[in-house]
Amino acid sequence: MIFGRTERGGPPVEPVTLKILVAGGFGAGKTTLVGAVSEIKPLRTEELLTEAGRPVDDTSGVEGKHTTTVAMDFGRITLREDLVLYLFGTPGQDRFWFLWDELATGALGAVVLADTRRLEDCFAAVDYFERRAIPFVVGVNCFDGAARHPVEDVRRALDLDSAVPVVLCDARARDSVKDVLIEVVRHAMAHAAERRHTVTG
């Protein structure tokens, strides 16, 4: 993932870095989606947990605390030498949600992958991003053998705000995933414009 030595003498290029999260239930296609557009690498975060399963205070020592490995998908897309987009596939297990807070901080936006055979699996992710006002797009992953739910049915079932884009996608297909990501950025732009508008009155 190294993009070559910078020219001798010149200062290194420090690219602008942005991140988009990819969430969804078990087997919804998160890993597939990240892998379709980037070289995927597993990322280990070792989290210190108390018995209650909450992260412990950062500055405390590790004595007597449990550490557990949480793996997530991580991909890098070099858009330009000075512009890099990172994708993070969020851990599917609900009990690792405190990890999301760190991932979500500063994220440009998110994709929630929905598997129409188990639509309820993505309710939690939708709630999470709604509550934090993080712009997200719902990608309806078209698995073989699944009934093609029209986009409007999915929107209704998820009780989505009319501004939230719902797009059909195939997480295996690079072009389809590109379209989903473009939709996230577009939606984030609209979201930002609206926020600016609200702030300035």
Binding site: I2, T17, L43, D58, L79, Q93, G106, V185
Partner: protein, 131 residues
């Protein structure tokens, strides 16, 4: 084996992954003093004189690996962790040490409260189209 050696039952199961003590190389520290928690996409940039200074310091092999990678090109915290197969928490501590030793500096991403420039977002869209 349980992390505290007392065989206490864990609230998490096997799917959570192995229980490990990865903090040996940080001497048990989970963060460096005075360090904010580094964002996963914060960029670590080697100082230009890092090459000469590296030798003077008592650095662990992992510290050296980080400096080496960052000298080739600035790397995000997440990339360093993935590339060196180290947990993110460990990389944060080691990067904190290197900042203190002035071998690297960290460029933080756009603060969460602010939004990236609209022109940057347009560039992201055209970059994605061109992929």
């Amino acid at each position: 084996m349980s992390a505290d050696g007392q065989g206490t039952p864990h609230w998490f199961d096997d799917e959570a992954g192995p229980v490990v003590r990865p903090y040996a190389m940080t001497r048990g520290r989970t963060s460096s003093p005075g360090q904010h928690r580094l964002d996963l996409i914060a960029l670590v940039v080697a100082e230009r004189y890092a090459e000469d200074r590296e030798a003077d310091q008592a650095l662990s092999p992992e510290h050296v690996d980080i400096v080496e990678l960052c000298r080739q090109a600035p790397q995000s915290v997440a990339e360093l962790a993935a590339e060196l197969d180290l947990p993110v928490g460990v990389v944060r501590v080691l990067v904190g040490d290197l900042v203190e030793d002035e071998l690297v500096h960290v460029r933080r991403p756009v603060p969460p409260a602010e939004l990236p420039d609209e022109s940057i977002l347009r560039d992201v869209i055209s970059g994605l189209r061109a992929l």
